[in-house]
Subunit: 272 residues, 2 copies
Amino acid sequence: MLTRTQHLFDDATRVVAGDSRWRGRTSPDYWAFVGPFGGFTAATILRALIEHPERAGDPVALTVNYCAPIAEGEFDLDVRFVKANRSSQHWCVELSQGSGDVATLATAVFAERRPSWAHQVARFPDARPFEEIKPFPSIAATWVKQYDFRFIEGVPTLRSAGAAEPGSAFSKLWISDRAPRRIDCLSLMAMSDAFFARIFHARGEVLPFGTVSITTYFHADADDLTKEDVTRVLAVADANTFHKSYGDQSGQLWSPSGRLLATTTQVMYFKA
Amino acid sequence: MLTRTQHLFDDATRVVAGDSRWRGRTSPDYWAFVGPFGGFTAATILRALIEHPERAGDPVALTVNYCAPIAEGEFDLDVRFVKANRSSQHWCVELSQGSGDVATLATAVFAERRPSWAHQVARFPDARPFEEIKPFPSIAATWVKQYDFRFIEGVPTLRSAGAAEPGSAFSKLWISDRAPRRIDCLSLMAMSDAFFARIFHARGEVLPFGTVSITTYFHADADDLTKEDVTRVLAVADANTFHKSYGDQSGQLWSPSGRLLATTTQVMYFKA
């Protein structure tokens, strides 16, 4: 029996080491309508990699493909070290339950990041301070209650009939764990998937949807994040298109100091 | 012995079917400085999936992780059908040579795309017509010779000493196969990786670099592309950041008619 860790995010994403087979379990605290919050699943996979004894360096890229629903309860993580280079590692993780098929398939790249020429091209978005903005009211899904969303632009306005004209798919908001927790790669991964579905914004209503694949690139390593020492990110997200039942989202997660911490993109299925 | 196909792109990305083990080989026509052009590798993997007898639907997402250099010659593609849903399929492909380690690791999502509400959020970029712009001169790598690049903005200006100040990382250009070939998912995948490295633009010089992971989302299916019936795309690419030896790129590929065909993102290693 493991002792309960301090923050419920760390408790939820806890994994038990195995040789190549690790174990985790879904958490009632990070539950979406029909399964775990996708950001929880992605962060748990990332945690298994970060805690792996053969892991070296920091995450650079994580892609998670959601293949099938995950039921409440335990799951196995089949963690495979695919290839090591001088300064980078390639991993593959398959999540399954019982003797079932693969429910989630992920690939990751880790690297020992070395000092280099640096240049931040993207501009830090203007934003009113976190403290001046009211939190977005919690909605039914438990995972939403674990975050403090403060919208600067693109607050979702959801009507039962939807909007007559397509609304903007752009949002700018502060995202913090409801119980503040220092931002690390795990929370960046989870927060990458914490935007409300762009289709809700564009349509002005909640519709059946599901993330099919998410990719997050980490632009800060563990040292950078320790130095930032922040508990929230300024997040922006937008969509490019919705077409034949699939749409996309791209986003950026910024430190309040103006450093780009992560970029993320995902493709999702919708019914409309 | 297979007969030579019409277009050298199709010849280069030709694969020989196996049960789960498929075979391909590098092409001198799509060679970069130290290995095959990454877009060639990605397109060849995609071809194996598209030609697979169990494949249903069209590609929605492809992520390719470049784990190790690929030597000139034959390679094996270990194609694994991971999970099928009602309307989507998840695949995993590992490329290796001889008895060597995995050199390239890819995951893909295919889906039977159904009619739905549609809304293109991104705006078609203004662009001078292809015919009015001079082709970018071919450079040493053979793969570059297979494309006709016509820059509208952000033409690379490479000096041996580099630029004093960081240059813009943004480019807008037409990309066509040098010998025109109708745009399909394969060429979209290859063209996703056909931008010059953003670090060249930002630094104004050619530096050691390598794509680590690329993800492309397809916003048009085979039917859409057949209807578009075009041989070139309007392409835009930009970077968000360069930090501790890694940088990123995101791009869009547009049909000349103004339809967004694909979006792409990649993370790359650089030495500067």
